[in-house]
């Protein structure tokens, strides 16, 4: 008889896959594709992205617009937002036995807050309510590539994304490159301690997606599909 075995990492019946990496690393595209494929395989899938919570997004937007935020309030406000997202969107499907695909997780905060000078141990403690995922895919990409993509897609670089609040440079592009460089350094550093699966994002979408499916398959072996769940009792 098939039953939902709790995950060895977080102990909930569901499974948690996390996608991390710099903006423009291609992680969102891949996360969406993986989610779609998992659904087509019959799994119950829940997809969620960072900054999708309604609670604090207006405050974050207002604070960012007026540049009211310091590293500490920036960090805490995003932690609040994540907690809301976690308590409302991530935990329930995880407990209900879904495959949860997260585009960004607590690691985004670890990296971003460290780059802003917050004490990493302080930040880790704040997020200690967020359990370890079954797998973290880290999309590794040179900063120059993400900047090129950003310019090509005509997306505006915003103040905080460029780390302008840190005073690294008065030039937006220059500041963006330096700040993203710090983020990358931090991602690279924790990718070992947190056992990330590093994905080289300098390849075709198809190649990367095939690799991801290869990583996920063994983790979902014996994991019940929606169909299996209905008939299995």
């Amino acid at each position: 008889m098939q039953s939902e075995t709790p995950s060895p990492t977080h102990g909930f019946p569901g499974r948690l896959f996390v996608f991390e990496g710099l903006d423009g690393s291609g992680k969102s595209t891949q996360a969406a594709l993986l989610g779609k494929w998992l659904q087509s395989q019959g799994y119950r899938v829940f997809f969620t992205e960072w900054n999708s919570s309604e609670l604090t997004s207006a405050t974050i937007r207002r604070g960012k617009k007026k540049n009211l935020l310091t590293p500490t309030t920036f960090s805490l406000l995003h932690a609040t937002d994540f907690a809301d997202r976690f308590e409302r969107k991530i935990l329930p499907p995880l407990r209900a036995g879904y495959v949860v695909v997260c585009d960004r997780y607590a690691y985004t905060a670890f990296v971003r807050d460290a780059a802003r000078g917050c004490d990493p141990a302080w930040v880790r403690n704040i997020y200690s309510f967020a359990p370890r995922p079954d797998r973290v895919f880290y999309f590794r990409v040179p900063v120059a590539v993400t900047l090129k993509r950003k310019i090509a897609s005509r997306l505006k670089i915003n103040y905080y994304e460029a780390g302008m609040d840190l005073g690294l440079s008065d030039d937006l592009h220059d500041s963006y490159e330096r700040f993203q460089g710090r983020l990358k350094q931090e991602y690279d550093r924790i990718s070992r301690s947190d056992a990330f699966t590093v994905i080289d994002s300098g390849r075709s979408v198809e190649t990367i997606q095939a690799e991801l499916r290869g990583h996920v398959r063994p983790i979902l072996e014996n994991f019940p599909t929606a169909e299996g769940l209905m008939h299995d009792s």
């Binding site: 609670l55 604090t56 207006a58 405050t59 604070g63 540049n67 009211l68 935020l69 310091t70 590293p71 500490t72 309030t73 805490l76 406000l77 932690a79 609040t80 907690a83 809301d84 976690f86 308590e87 409302r88 802003r116 000078g117 917050c118 004490d119 141990a121 302080w122 403690n125 704040i126 200690s128 309510f129 103040y159 302008m164 609040d165 840190l166 005073g167 008065d170 030039d171 937006l172």
Partner: protein, 249 residues
């Protein structure tokens, strides 16, 4: 005051000393905090000290969000605890630290201790709460107004005519009855405050008395902070918060 925190230093806080004094008045709703803060302020100003007061849920950044969240009753415990932490951090950086740097006395009507006790009563671990507020400045003095639950109840009813949903801990589902929930919640809170108080060195004041009597005790605790005029060192230091730079481009 010497800049000492409970762990982490705020990024951007570079000075070693702030010339003002930070005095915290803690206590449950109905313990007479607001009255004591007003009396203390009056006395300190007459003595010639500049006073700035502060309290919870007064930040420009998220006070509104907290009020809205409380109306809806829908936030998870961790989210709510963190939202209060944002409010506190914003006031610490934008109000408390600048006032202390300018040599004012900051009177805080509640501080991190209430926030920690509330979070722990709602399921957070003490260690998590303690480390979360590791960036808070250590006050020069923390006074805890201790009042029996019957007194708190009496004051709440005489002031508002009823009990408040949150002060009764109704979100904890301890009881469907407001009064029962109030007593159960205050009991848990006071147990938590006993731990926080021992850990952080509270000065307890018996608040089951008339305001003037309580004020006499409060004054006796505060007066030594201002000791001899020579002790009022005015060491100035520059603040360089890493923010409020104009965006270019």
């Amino acid at each position: 005051m010497t800049v000492r925190t409970y762990g982490t230093l705020l990024p951007g806080l570079t000075e070693e000393s702030l010339s003002g004094k930070l005095i915290v008045i803690e206590g449950a709703d109905g313990s007479g905090r607001t009255t004591e803060v007003a009396l203390l302020r009056e006395w300190l100003e007459v003595e010639g000290h500049a006073v700035v007061d502060t309290g919870l849920r007064r930040s420009t950044l998220v006070a509104e969000e907290i009020d809205r969240a409380k109306q809806g009753h829908t936030l998870g415990a961790t989210t709510m605890a963190l939202l209060y932490a944002v409010d506190f951090a914003d006031q610490l950086e934008n109000k408390i630290v600048p006032a202390l740097a300018a040599g004012s006395t900051v009177l805080a009507d509640r501080y991190i201790y209430t926030l920690m006790a509330r979070a722990v009563v709602r399921g957070a671990s003490r260690e998590w709460a303690r480390r979360l507020y590791g960036f808070a400045l250590r006050p020069d003095l923390v006074i805890f107004l201790e009042a029996r639950p019957e007194i708190l109840l009496h004051r709440a009813i005489s002031k508002y005519g009823s009990l408040d949903y949150w002060e009764s801990g109704m979100d904890l589902s301890l009881s469907r009855d407001l009064f029962e929930s109030f007593f159960a919640y205050q009991d848990r809170l006071s147990k938590e405050f006993a731990w926080v108080g021992a850990e952080y060195g509270f000065h307890l004041v018996d608040a089951n008395r008339r305001p003037e009597q309580v004020h006499d005790d409060v004054r006796a605790l505060v007066a030594p902070l201002y000791g001899s005029p020579a002790a009022r060192g005015v060491r100035r230091s520059a603040l360089t918060p890493p923010r409020t730079r104009a965006a270019s481009g």
